[in-house]
């Protein structure tokens, strides 16, 4: 340890002093650049859309840089009050929220609209990691049960909005912490069993009509090819017709002729695959894999149980984004509203995502080296 610490101290270069993790930053910038090119193609080749996206990414990068300056243990201190405040905000959304696109997700603060579920994506892993790491690992059964309840509260509130996509992301961010904290395999088995038992209840009592329709459409899109199945069929045609090399940038007929709905937002992966083919997909997934590996490396190298768990959860949740989005666009999963991280146009989610990366960078660069 001492030697490693010494070596690292020597390497405390410019990037570490400004708390930026270079490999992560490079990966993020590559994805953003790819994203801008695809957004230009999918958005009707309008520079205006690209400029707007650049502005948004700029703001998100600024947030990341700012968050990276905060020592990670500060989060742990503030975890409980912020978590409680977040829960209150979610309840406020359900009671007074602004209804947009049929769901209540926004709080109207007068000067801006604010989506508390976005912030919860970061607060939940901080809270759970903070709670679980207070005691020795592996966590005890009672700790695990309380942690699960803490995860379920915001998940249910967000599910009620209804926002299925975000509630999945929040649930996974919490569950990853518990898993990394050493949840026993026996319990994992029990949970999977309970989950399977819970599925019918979910289907019959909790899912809204529009959510059910998404699932039936997913199981058999061809039954209503011009209605609800249209999107997923067009998306699969876009991906499939890309072939090995792709049709070339700006040459994708599915997107350029506007067959594909939501092509520059949630379904941007279909446009990418159509224009850059299987080769492009392998390259894109490799970049995602590099980012994930770097994130896990930071987690393993982290000093404290808290930072380890937090870094692990952020990284794994990032992967869930990628998996759910590509899964749904290519027809493996039902359509839930999850964007392709760092590539899709718009969304407040990019700010949250980069704030998460900011935390990862803080964890990797704010180290008190044991001398």
């Amino acid at each position: 340890m001492r030697n490693i610490g010494h070596d690292q101290q020597k390497q405390r270069n410019f990037w570490q002093r400004i708390h930026i993790d270079l490999p992560l930053l490079l990966g993020i910038l590559v994805l953003m650049t790819v994203g801008l090119f695809v957004v230009y193609s999918a958005g009707g080749q309008e520079m205006a859309i690209v400029y707007r996206q650049i502005t948004r990414l700029g703001i998100a990068l600024l947030v990341m840089f700012t968050v990276a300056q905060i020592p990670p243990l500060v989060y742990q201190k503030w975890a409980v009050p912020v978590f409680v405040f977040g829960l209150l905000l979610l309840i406020a959304v359900l009671l007074f929220g602004h209804v947009g696109k049929g769901a209540q997700r926004w709080l109207d603060l007068g000067f801006m609209k604010f989506q508390p579920s976005e912030v919860m994506k970061l607060i939940v892993p901080i809270m759970i990691a903070g709670y679980v790491s207070q005691q020795n690992l592996p966590a005890k059964l009672s700790t695990i049960i309380i942690a699960l309840v803490l995860v379920l509260l915001p998940t249910i509130l967000i599910f009620k909005q209804p926002d299925f996509g975000t509630s999945i992301l929040i649930a996974s961010s919490g569950i990853f912490v518990i898993f990394l904290a050493g949840l026993s395999w026996k319990l994992i088995g029990v949970c999977i069993g309970l989950g399977l038992g819970f599925a019918p209840i979910l289907w019959f009592y909790l899912l809204g009509a529009y959510q059910k329709q998404r699932v039936t459409t997913f199981l058999n899109p061809e039954q209503d090819p011009l209605g609800s199945g249209y999107q997923i069929i067009q998306s699969k045609i876009a991906i499939g017709s890309g072939g090995f090399e792709g049709k070339g940038w700006l040459q994708g007929t599915q997107s350029q002729l506007e067959f594909l709905p939501e092509r520059h937002t949630d379904f941007i992966f279909a446009v990418f695959s159509e224009e850059f083919g299987f080769m492009g997909v392998v390259a894109l997934l490799s970049v995602y894999l590099i980012i994930v590996m770097r994130g896990l490396w930071i987690a393993v190298q982290a000093e404290h149980a808290f930072t380890k768990l937090l870094a692990g959860s952020i990284t794994l949740t990032f992967f869930v984004y990628v998996f759910v989005n590509i899964g749904m666009v290519s027809g493996l999963l039902p359509v839930v509203g999850v964007p392709l991280p760092l590539v899709s146009y718009g969304g407040t989610s990019v700010v949250t995502l980069l704030a998460g990366f900011g935390m990862l960078m803080a964890i990797s660069t704010h180290k008190r080296f044991i001398a």
């Binding site: 696109k101 990394l180 011009l226 090995f244 002729l257 299987f278 997909v281 149980a305 027809g331």
Partner: protein
């Protein structure tokens, strides 16, 4: 683990090992999931490439939204008040044009399109997508359409688009009740999105902005249709494969009688004011006209800023204002209602008399409240007080009644509340009372305020619509009907899909059996629920007051001389500036906007009322309500009754009253307050 010792030293290396193991497992999971994703995409892009490539090449089906036809609006006799007319516009798709700039200049020369519009188009071209059509000129004349059609081959990418646009054939006559439609703006879009209607409006350009067009937007709009078209690889539409026709909006029949409306307009010509005519039996509004008015068609095509400025210019008497729902002091028109309040509270009876020396004074106060008739009316009972519009009688009555009794009764007659009419422009105006003064001036109520309320002035305003409603309640002896326009809706049912494609302009009201299209119009009468009625302690009190109004109309108003129906009515003259003690009112000496308002309310026939009319004429130069507003009501009623003759034969129902004036006073031209 040392679970009983909270401060046990943590085994950091054991924890780190556990964490590293778990991270490794997670990493393995990630790899497995990545492989699943990749193999699925491999299957799509490599194994099934041929299949999807074929589908992509033959993917020519595109779904275009088709706007529904907006429902039509008819008057009560089936006269069309709002229709949809085809409008032709010249459009261009930049991508398809061979020499865009040159052609725009050439086509503009050909059709005499202004320089300004060309510049606008060049600007629009920079903003828009190259494959979307942009409008070069809207509303082409028939000649321009013909001229372009002959020369179309010279201008690739240019074409004429036909669209249905709302048209109001009666122009300014109907605007204040029908309202108008205009271009959907960003505010509308947000509201539509919030109501989950964005998809339904995907092809719709205009939306109801005012009046009935706004209130019944959901009935009028209809349901969007879809056209499935085949396009080639350049995106050009080749043919229509399938067509789900849009469902037209429902046609509305409203209670307005357009002929009555015309008479109302004619009667108000040259004046500022409003007329509301209502059927007290149903609450149906027969006419609602506010003068001056404006042409709603101007807004349908997007009003030019020049025209809009004109409408806003105060010199043009503010035509945008719907005066039938603006608050005015009711003046003496509400005296019958105050009399009723007095009877109901037991303050007066039919026989009670007050002495009118020409003025009224509150105990211990200097100020004299004048009667309009300086010499005074002497001893008067309620009937005489209403007939001669005696102010002192009602000053006295109001003070004895006390403001809370008045507030309470006037609230029951619908003042200070929305009428529930089916246009959003409905207003509350001001219900007199402590609450109104508190909320407006944060001051307590004084007895002096009550005195003014006694003659329908002071802190009291009513809309002509509220006034018509109140008189209808009176004429109905307490039955309350909600004033409204909508009589029935009609919608097309049993439409079979058209075999031929695309004609969005089909009017479905015609059954076309050769095409196997069977269409019926299903008419549904609309019922408005009644409001809870006013029940008096003594039902006879209704008759006392109604009789007095009948008596008044028969004796006082030259305007109603020779009518072939029995009318009952009451005039009012509202002072807009307060006179100093003993100061004479001279209309020519004060600013026009401060001159008196003339008011009149009437209903007929006396025995089974069919029509209630409320009239307001702003800032009259000479005379009051009887002189300026009663003739307007007379003309409306004459039109309504036409050739019918309804004279009550039973004279015993309204006994003659002795006249306290000489006969010369009875025929004086200037009516009482």
């Amino acid at each position: 683990m040392a679970s009983n010792k909270r401060v046990a030293i943590r085994n950091h290396s054991a924890e780190a090992n556990l964490f590293a193991r778990r991270t490794f497992i997670a990493f393995v999971g990630i790899m497995v999931m990545l492989i699943i994703l990749l193999s699925n995409i491999y299957d799509l892009e490599i194994n099934s490439y041929d299949k999807y490539q074929t589908r992509s090449n033959s993917n020519r089906i595109k779904i275009l939204p088709v706007a529904p036809n907006r429902g039509l609006i008819y008057d009560r006799n089936g006269v069309l008040l709002a229709e949809n007319k085809p409008v032709y516009s010249l459009e261009v798709i930049a991508e398809q044009a061979t020499d865009l700039k040159k052609h725009i200049v050439e086509v503009s020369e050909l059709l005499e399109i202004s320089e300004e519009k060309q510049q606008k188009l060049f600007k629009a071209l920079k903003r828009n997508r190259r494959f979307k059509p942009i409008e070069l000129h809207s509303r082409l004349s028939a000649q321009q359409v013909a001229l372009f059609s002959v020369n179309q081959h010279r201008f690739p990418g240019f074409f004429i688009d036909a669209r249905l646009k709302r048209y109001y054939p009666f122009g300014d006559l109907t605007t204040h009740s029908l309202g108008y439609v205009a271009r959907i703006n960003s505010k509308d879009s947000i509201r539509l999105a919030e109501q989950n209607l964005s998809e339904d409006y995907a092809a719709t350009r205009n939306i109801g902005k005012l009046g009935l067009e706004k209130y019944y937007e959901d009935l009028l709009h209809g349901t969007i249709g879809h056209q499935e078209v085949e396009i080639n690889s350049q995106g050009r539409v080749i043919r229509t494969l399938d067509y789900t026709p849009p469902i037209s909006g429902q046609d509305l029949t409203i209670s307005i009688d357009i002929e009555l409306q015309m008479i109302a307009k004619r009667a108000l010509a040259g004046k500022r004011g409003a007329v509301v005519a209502m059927d007290p039996r149903s609450g149906e509004i027969l006419a609602m006209y506010s003068n001056p008015s404006y042409d709603g068609n101007l807004f349908v095509h997007g009003i030019s800023s020049k025209n809009y400025k004109k409408l806003l210019d105060p010199k043009n008497n503010r035509p945008l204002l719907n005066r039938s729902v603006q608050g005015y002091p009711p003046a003496s028109t509400v005296k019958p209602l105050l009399g009723l309040a007095g009877l109901e509270a037991g303050i007066i009876t039919q026989k009670s008399r007050y002495y009118d020396p020409g003025w009224f004074q509150l105990k211990g106060l200097e100020r004299k409240y004048r009667d309009w008739y300086p010499q005074g009316h002497g001893w008067v009972d309620l009937n005489e007080a209403i007939e001669h519009s005696c102010n002192v009688f009602f000053y006295t009555l109001a003070v004895r009644l006390d403001i809370d009794n008045i507030t309470n009764m006037m609230e029951r007659f619908g003042f200070g509340d929305l009428t529930g009419v089916d246009i959003w422009e409905d207003k509350r105006a001001i219900l007199p009372g402590r609450e109104a003064k508190r909320s407006r001036y944060n001051e307590p109520w004084y007895t002096g305020d009550t005195v003014n309320v006694g003659i329908g002035q002071g802190l009291w305003t009513v809309t002509p619509l509220q006034l018509a409603q109140a008189i209808a309640i009176l004429a109905n002896k307490g039955q309350k009907k909600i004033p409204h326009f909508l009589r029935s809706t009609a919608r097309a049912v049993d439409i079979k899909p058209l075999n031929e494609q695309g004609s969005t302009q089909d009017n479905v009201s015609v059954a076309n059996e050769s095409n196997n299209v069977v269409t019926k119009m299903l008419t549904e009468a609309i019922e408005f629920e009644d409001k809870p009625p006013i029940v008096l302690k003594n039902h006879k009190n209704w008759n006392l007051v109604l009789d007095a109004m009948h008596n008044t109309a028969q004796k006082k108003y030259p305007a109603f001389k020779g009518a072939r129906y029995d009318a009952a009515g009451k005039s009012g003259t509202a002072q807009l500036i307060s006179k100093k003690q003993d100061e004479e009112y001279d209309a020519t000496a004060i600013k026009e906007k401060q001159r008196n308002n003339a008011m009149f309310v009437a209903f007929a026939p006396y025995e089974n009322p069919e029509i209630v009319v409320a009239v307001v004429v702003e800032n009259v130069l000479e005379g009051g309500g009887g002189f300026n507003a009663a003739p307007v009501a007379r003309q409306v009623m004459d039109q309504y009754f036409g050739d019918r003759e309804i004279i009550s034969t039973d004279k015993s129902k309204h006994p003659q009253h002795k006249n306290i004036y000489g006969s010369n006073k009875k025929t004086q031209k200037v009516g009482p307050n």
